[in-house]
Amino acid sequence: MESTDFRDLTDLDRVVEALVFATDVPIAAAAVTEVIGEVLGATIEEAAVVEAVAALNASYAQIGSILCIEHVAEGYRMATDKRMAPYLNVFFRQERKTRLSRSLMETLAIIAYRQPATKPEVDAVRGVDSDYAVRRLLEHGLVEITGRSESLGKPLLYSTTPVFLERFGLASLDELPTLREIEELLNEPAFSKERAELLVLKDLLPPEPTDSADEATP
């Protein structure tokens, strides 16, 4: 988060605060300047919005509020501090956000890193048909069709959406964790069992072989 010294909030800060509070999806700095421009007939720089957000966050920190304005999906939105999750989870009884299934997540990762990507490309990487996964991701609004490839059959191109950025808390695609190089993956420590376990969440792995007893499932 921007570290800005606490200062008295200005009128601009307050307008930014109202809009950032009110919006249901991250609001871009440009959208803020547009609203202000329309109401006041004055032009303000987007940088002033960025500064206002920093000032607001400094103010919230100053009073020890759990609110903060996050920079996500190329916009701003008000959010709670992570430490409040236990209370909020209890309050909402069930988790509000369902996790994506493995196949959806895998498909999404491939599209995110290769975008724009075609379904044949995704299929090739995964070794399975991703028709269902792509359709579900479209339904979730996490990916969208962004054109057609020039390759054989002119398949549709898919890219991630702002919803994707927001879901993963990314300000922009630049914030995607760097895709590691193969050498890197294999070398440290050499592609070992430990490494393999690190790579895969426990619940993804089938139960460890206990012994060589023939317990093959039907």
Partner: protein
């Protein structure tokens, strides 16, 4: 054979990776013969339980068997540098590529977890409903729409009496006099009532007379809620319905 949860694998590459990890194999030197056999036995189980997507696994099994066969034959294939081509190379490349995205998937999973701890403003404070301001944007309209809008104004008044007087004509001044008589009696009157059963020239001249009187401030016009008729009433304090002296 180990107990294995078939649906724990995302696909054929995932299953292959599982074998490699389990046996701590060098990914660049996969003992294809052994792996292919084991892979096949799993695929048979899958076929038995008729698992979705089993076709992809069968395809991979075929790829493995093909590689196994090629490995048994003396290599004839050379790459650009004249080195013999390892029949496993392409598969290894795919596995590694898959591995990269698998790891990326885990990273996204971590982000998703972190993100689940963040909450946003709830609907109780949804200010949208309070401040929403709807602006109507008009759809494209055609000249014909414009003409159609005029239609009710351009059609004849229904049921004109057919016994029309010849050369019937009224002047506006005449009708101002008529309106003066009508309004002298007092109350607000519906224009429709005033001209009921009259001929068209009469209605038009009377209408113009009403407008003229309204213009002079001698009478007031009222429109009813449905805007299907209007009413005329003598203007209070301006009882002279005499024509304006030019």
């Amino acid at each position: 054979m180990y107990e294995i949860h078939l649906d724990a694998f995302d696909g054929p590459l995932d299953l292959l990776l599982f074998f490699i990890r389990r046996d701590e194999l060098d990914i660049y030197d996969i003992p294809i013969a052994r792996i292919a056999d084991e892979y096949l036995s799993y695929v048979r189980v899958m076929q038995d339980v008729d698992l979705d997507g089993v076709g992809d696994f069968i395809y991979m099994a075929a790829v493995l068997i093909n590689i196994k066969a090629r490995l048994l034959l003396p290599s004839e294939e050379l790459d650009e540098d004249g080195e013999p081509i390892d029949p496993r190379a392409e598969l290894v490349e795919r596995l590694l590529e898959y591995l990269r995205y698998k790891e990326a998937t885990q990273q996204l999973r971590v982000l998703e977890e972190e993100r689940a701890a963040v909450f946003h403003r709830g609907k109780a404070s949804a200010v949208k409903a309070e401040y929403i301001d709807t602006v109507e944007v008009y759809q494209n309209t055609t000249v014909f729409d414009l003409i159609k809008a005029l239609k009710p104004l351009l059609l004849q008044a229904p049921a004109e009496p057919t016994i029309e007087l010849t050369n019937e004509s009224y002047t506006v001044e005449q009708q101002i006099g008529f309106m003066r008589d009508v309004l002298a009696i007092g109350e607000r009157k519906a224009f429709r009532y005033v001209v009921a059963a009259r001929s068209k020239p009469f209605i038009i001249a009377t209408f113009l007379a009403v407008l003229e009187l309204a213009r002079r401030g001698s009478l007031r016009l009222f429109v009813d809620a449905e805007a299907v008729d209007f009413y005329v009433e003598r203007q209070e304090g301006n009882l002279t319905l005499e024509p304006e002296e030019a």
